[in-house]
Amino acid sequence: MTMKKKRYEALVQVYHSELYRFAYWLCHDPTIAEDLVQETFLRAWRSLESLQDDKAAKPWLLTILRRENARRFERKQFDYADVENDTLEDNKSVTLDDEMEQTVIQRQINKLSSEYREPLLLQVVMGCSGEEIADILELNKNTVMTRLYRARNQLKEALTDNHEPIKGASN
């Protein structure tokens, strides 16, 4: 196996799950999410030489994925009017309470405007640093941190005001 292939396989193994989850929350559709991840990795393979440092792989892959997602909208404007109902994910092996709680959280995250939601997804799902998020979204870091602050603030308020069952929210 060539060096390039080894390097590529390592990238796939390390990042495919996180990227899938991020893609899922961008498009709210498991099939489209998988397509996005497939396309992202294929493009990554074709231009792997342009990735100088493997430490920069995550923001690099995310940039490709976001571009792919944007292309999807150029091709066809999908109708996500029902997005909140579409995204009630069934997570197995959790209790009913937990399940309800997660559903409520998912719904509130989807209610965030995309400028708040996307940095939050990058931070929580992808584990990106403020600098990386700023890089990916082409914003300055202060803007990113402000949006992250507001995203959590809004989420916390919404989940507390509704008296939704949030474990440990005020303990």
Partner: protein, 237 residues
């Protein structure tokens, strides 16, 4: 770090080590740090959708297929197109060199005959070309005819051995007659004054000051007489 900044930074990133360190001395802040970290764990857990089974394998398979589809069957000679193109051009260059070095240049008479055969259909034309039209073309060379030795049926610029020349055909008693008027500045057959012929045509080359006139007519035509007449009528301005 004041309370407001602490709050903003904690909400922006509950794992910010500076913020966490800052909260150690303050139980209230410490409690908020724990709260936000728990909250983040909840968010993470809510966002933790199942990844489709076998996704990594499918990604790698797709890459493999992509790579395979890029290996197109190319004919053996196409795989080496660059060296082959170079070799081919060298062969061509060498070939042209030998052709030019070994073949003696085409003689002007032969060239004239060839030219006549090439445009042999032009000899059949009967439509008259006016003297004025002929002179307009001749003016390009700085010459004109005072009169014509017969009815001109063809008058066009031609390339005569790389030289722009006027190709005329006029009708004589001896049938159609071809005249090439080739400006003298750069032709390479100065030494070839005289006659030439083949089984059908006879011709004569006359070197002039400003131009050579080459006359080609049917065999048996008194070409010198016509040559003299033409050169007499041709006036250089």
């Amino acid at each position: 770090m004041d309370e407001l900044e602490f709050r903003r930074r904690l909400f922006a990133d509950p794992n910010d080590t500076e913020v966490i360190d800052h909260a150690i001395a303050n139980p209230e802040q410490q409690s908020l740090v724990n709260e936000l970290q728990d909250f983040d764990a909840q968010l993470k857990s809510a966002l933790q959708v199942d990844v489709p089974v076998g996704l990594a394998d499918r990604i790698l398979e797709k890459q493999h297929n992509d790579e395979a589809s890029n290996v197109v069957n190319i004919a053996w000679y196409r795989k080496y197109n660059k060296p082959f193109a170079t070799a081919a051009s060298m062969v061509l260059a060498v070939g042209i060199y030998f052709m030019s070095a070994t073949n003696s240049p085409l003689q002007a008479g032969e060239h004239a005959l060839e030219h006549v055969y090439y445009e042999v259909n032009a000899l059949e034309r009967r439509q008259e070309v006016a003297l004025q039209v002929v002179n307009e073309k001749l003016a390009m060379f700085g010459a004109q005819f005072d009169r014509l030795p017969g009815k001109v049926t063809y008058a066009t610029f031609c390339n005569f051995k790389g030289q722009k020349s006027l190709h005329l055909i006029f009708q004589s008693e001896h049938g159609p007659m071809t005249v090439f008027i080739v400006p003298a500045q750069s032709n390479d057959y100065k030494q070839e004054n005289g006659h030439f012929s083949d089984e059908r045509f006879a011709g004569v080359i006359a070197n002039g000051q400003k131009a050579d006139t080459i006359l080609v007519a049917n065999l048996g035509t008194p070409v010198e007489d016509y040559q003299t007449e033409i050169n007499g009528a041709l006036r250089w301005l």
